[in-house]
Symmetry: C2
Subunit: 246 residues, 2 copies
């Protein structure tokens, strides 16, 4: 049930077998959530630790008394509801974007485990730090540039991240989002999102068949988007992993 989490943590600092086993044995319940439903409501008092096992969710913050819902980032399989599992509370909500399976881990034994295994706590902190970097990149990407560049950048990021959780390959990924959801993430209208997608297709930067989004040329869309995957730390994590394997 927690294999996605364990696999991901492992990339951030190899876990001992014992930590791994203890994590696996934590009291947990599995929950299915339909797209558009809340996984954690904003301002909800801190409860169980939520681990996304399957599907994709988004961190959201509602504005203007609920009129708009800003998307702060994605939560992918293997990630937890709080960027820092030791934080007091969540200042934002989490909503399912696709059908999602969530594991609920009892808070108390979880916290206990982090105290017992500093390596585990460290892996979580690193994961949190990666997410902060991604948030900063989103902030830089959005608001500063034209919608088509933003979109291209987002797609590049999704390719790398979804690839890491088995939802894609070297130049493609299985797209879990509707255009309306993309629009919401970037804060633009759905109509405009549609036109941007067409534009990217006309430029030959993306191709879509079924729900597979493919980049005819990685180099070209990276260039167009100004995308440098360094901030996703894929390399560093792979390196860490390889070291661990030795």
């Amino acid at each position: 049930m927690l294999s996605a989490l364990i696999q991901k943590l492992d990339l951030f600092g190899p876990l001992s077998d014992e930590a791994r086993n203890r994590l696996r044995k934590l009291p947990a319940r599995l929950l299915s959530v339909a797209p558009h439903d809340d996984i954690v409501r904003e301002k909800e008092p801190r409860g169980d630790v939520r681990v996304i096992c399957e599907g994709i969710a988004a961190r959201t913050k509602s504005l203007d008394g609920g009129d708009r819902q800003a998307v702060l980032g994605f939560v992918l399989p293997g990630e937890v509801d709080e960027s820092d599992p030791l934080a007091d509370a969540l200042d934002h909500g989490i909503v399912a974007l696709s059908p999602v399976k969530v594991a609920l881990l009892a808070r108390q034994p979880f916290d206990q485990l982090l105290l017992e295994f500093p390596d585990l706590a460290r892996a979580f902190r690193r994961m949190a730090r990666l997410n902060e970097g991604i948030t900063r990149m989103w902030l830089a990407n959005m608001g500063q540039r034209a919608a088509d560049r933003q979109t291209a950048h987002l797609l590049c990021e999704m390719q790398v991240r979804l690839c890491a959780v088995g939802m894609g390959g070297a130049d493609w990924f299985t797209n879990p989002l509707t255009q309306e959801q993309f629009a919401n993430v970037l804060g633009i209208s759905a109509v405009h999102m549609n036109r941007v997608m067409q534009h990217l297709r006309e430029l030959g930067l993306i191709r879509i068949e079924n729900h597979v989004l493919r980049f005819p040329s990685l180099a070209r869309i990276h260039e167009y988007a100004g995308f440098d995957p360094a901030y996703l730390m894929t390399d560093a994590r792979v390196r860490a992993h390889e070291q661990a394997a030795e």
Copy 2:
């Protein structure tokens, strides 16, 4: 020299006198930086810890090979260059927005001090967490809403934060930024920024004399901006402080 830092840390978790003294005695140099000059360059290898003592700086990320420079957040007096002082490196630069005085603390003794005084480390972590919350709020605020609301929101935030470092009062602050800098922060053009400012003045939401920006009615601009100061944790910090004083 480090009084701003110590005062701020104190709000996040009262420091022992010893921690305070040791912090004060760290090997340090003081540096003056002119507006527009770099305090930390992006991708610069990790060096001394920089503490802003006076003035205001911004975290920035350059896009499209240096054409644009996105602003990720402010660094105010008492804050350090890295949100988490234990992080490996900085994924962004820091540039002075006004004349700034920076203290450079030798990295090694600083790290050592954090290990010796877990309370100190904890205060830094809390400060980092606050900054993450602010970044998320910026992400939500920008990109989603019209420029005049964004601007109003930013001004509300600045009032609270600058007030906390002695650059303002209950309904005003000494504005350290030019309109061009504001425009850059919000990712809009300087011309549009100017028109937005005029609009806010016409609405009676702000008033400017010399470099003092005043809100004729806190309630009205908060309402207009959809601003809720909770994310700045001013209350929590004040409470923590009061408890400490007992």
